[in-house]
């Protein structure tokens, strides 16, 4: 699990706006990719389709060969249990402690209390927040809150990690630190996709960069020590003739 493929994916909203237009792209298992482009380019829409939070108007989103867009509402939650998701505004629950926030995905999976405690500590250690588990999110700095969000995303050791503007309003040092966390996570085998328009930072990271412009892939720049990916080949004509 961890191989992702988009096959001629188009997403048109009810108002007629086309957020993604015939996007075909592939992510190898264990790869790390940055998704960039101007505001409104379709980055969030792209991630939503991977999450199964929205379905493509045309085309297929395949994760390990399974079409996410055609997945039943009953199966979707079990698919999501294999994903880790990080947002810009971290989506932490203000009424719950750091520990409980991070434990949430494990509780949903019905894990035992002792195993939960062990995993939550391990996860908090990774983001260097061990010792703050009994605080409430409002007592943490923005950067710390964002790291709690990351701890929650990785606590299940997901095969796929998706992040939407995870460094949105953090200072450069902190942003760098967060990106490093993602790449460390990628090194242990997860497929990582991070949407960000912090161009200078992502170029510094030396990973594959997928550039979206008005819903189309306009460039696909391979990472420094990754094998080259073809820029989204426009196969429409070939297949339809």
């Amino acid at each position: 699990m961890g191989h992702i493929e988009l096959n001629h994916v188009t997403k048109r909203f009810d108002n007629g706006h086309e957020a993604l237009s015939d996007v075909s792209v592939e992510f190898a298992e264990g790869s790390m990719t940055f998704l960039t482009g101007h505001s409104g380019a379709g980055k969030s829409t792209f991630l939503k389709l991977l999450l199964g939070a929205d379905i493509p108007t045309r085309g297929r989103v395949l994760v390990n060969g399974v079409n996410i867009g055609a997945m039943s509402q009953r199966r979707l939650p079990y698919y999501r249990q294999n994903l880790g998701v990080v947002f810009q505004d971290h989506h932490l629950l203000s009424q719950r402690t750091v520990f409980e926030n991070v434990a949430l995905p494990l509780r949903v999976m019905g894990m035992r209390g002792r195993e939960i405690a062990r995993r939550v500590r391990a996860s908090l250690t990774r983001v260097e927040l061990l010792g703050k588990e009994h605080l409430f999110p409002r007592h943490l700095s923005t950067g710390e809150q964002q790291r709690v969000g990351i701890a929650r995303a990785v606590v299940t050791r997901p095969k796929i990690l998706l992040a939407d503007e995870p460094t949105g309003n953090l200072d450069p040092d902190l942003s760098r630190h967060i990106m490093d966390l993602f790449s460390r996570f990628n090194q242990v085998g997860s497929t990582v996709i991070v949407a960000s328009h912090d161009v200078s930072l992502i170029e510094e990271m030396g990973m594959r960069i997928l550039h979206l412009e008005q819903g189309r892939v306009v460039s696909d720049q391979p990472g420094l020590n990754q094998q080259a990916h073809d820029p989204a080949p426009d196969q429409t004509d070939v297949e339809e003739t």
Binding site: K48, L51, P77, L104, V108, M109, M111
Partner: protein, 316 residues
């Protein structure tokens, strides 16, 4: 092994959510109590009417299936004439049984009635001062079940022609009226039960809706981390059940208080008819049904709210 783990996880999740729901409700006792009260009142009315109806039906059970006519004789009619009339009526096809009451028996009965409430110097005592018995002899003839009206008319004529007969009455006894009234109450209770049950459902539905609104962020996160639809809905179904159950408890309290309050006047009403007050229906089974019904209505309300609000909750 895998499925056992799943079951354990499922149970754990239920346990955790039940505890959380209790905590949620007890941390908002003011609101919760209001909901309980509203649901409780909605349940108490039809349930109370049901108890009333059960008791009325029980009291009128003596009468049920035994309609008849009463024949009153003139004063100082000879007992032999009363017996003759009784035998004649008893021979009729539509008469099941005839019971005669002589003037003396009537007097005895009257004395013991008024003795109940009159005490020393009561009406019963006053009667002993009279040198003549003021009460007539009478008889009551019970119809066989399903006697036709036409035959009853014929029987009334026959009875009236007997010597010494003063009056023939096909009376509606108070029990008979009670029986009819209990049917009215029964139907009223059914209608009110449906209406107020609906009310209970709406009250829990809107309370659960409020609870959902207050936790939308949490629900989005839950869906995002892969909570199933069941897991997202579960706490609210617990809320509904707890609201309904609490409403059932309140309803039980309201009804028992009402019964205590109406017992004395009811006692004297029934006592004057020489009947013992023995309220039926308010038993453990009734309580269980009340609490169960409350919980079910609460859950139905919660399902409505959840359906309406959580159907297409966007994750982000």
């Amino acid at each position: 092994m895998v499925s056992r783990f799943k079951w354990l996880g499922w149970l754990r999740d239920h346990g955790r959510i039940a505890v959380e729901s209790l905590h949620y409700i007890s941390s908002r006792l003011g609101t919760s109590f209001l909901v309980w009260l509203l649901v409780g009142i909605a349940l108490a009315l039809p349930a109370g009417l049901w108890i009333l109806q059960v008791n009325m039906a029980e009291m009128s059970a003596d009468w049920q299936g035994r309609p008849g006519l009463s024949v009153y004789f003139k004063m100082q009619t000879a007992n032999s004439q009363v017996q003759d009339a009784a035998v004649l009526l008893g021979r009729q096809d539509i008469i099941d049984e005839v019971v005669t009451t002589s003037a003396e028996e009537a007097l005895e009965e009257f004395k013991s009635y008024s003795g109940l409430t009159g005490g020393e110097g009561g009406l019963g005592d006053a009667l002993t001062l009279l040198d003549k018995n003021p009460l007539p002899a009478s008889l009551r003839a019970y119809f066989v079940p399903g006697a036709a009206i036409g035959e009853v008319e014929h029987l009334i004529n026959l009875a009236q022609r007997q010597p010494g007969v003063a009056e023939v009455v096909v009376e509606k006894t108070w029990l008979e009226r009670l029986h009819e009234l209990s049917r009215v109450v029964s139907r009223l209770g059914a209608i009110l039960g449906v209406l107020f049950g609906l009310g209970a459902i709406l009250v829990t539905a809107s309370s659960v809706r409020l609870a959902i609104e207050g936790r939308l962020d949490e629900l989005r996160v839950l869906k995002m981390v892969g909570a199933t639809q069941g897991q997202v809905r579960r706490p609210f179904l617990y809320f509904g059940a707890l609201y309904g159950f609490g409403g059932g408890v309140i309803a039980a309290m309201l009804i028992s208080v009402t019964l205590v309050v109406i017992e004395p006047p009811l006692q004297s009403l029934l006592g004057s008819y020489q009947r013992e007050l023995n309220l039926a229906g308010f038993d453990p089974i009734f309580l269980l049904v009340l609490l169960g019904l409350g919980s079910v209505l609460g859950i139905v309300g919660a399902i409505l709210a959840v359906r309406q609000r959580l159907k297409d909750l966007e994750i982000f």
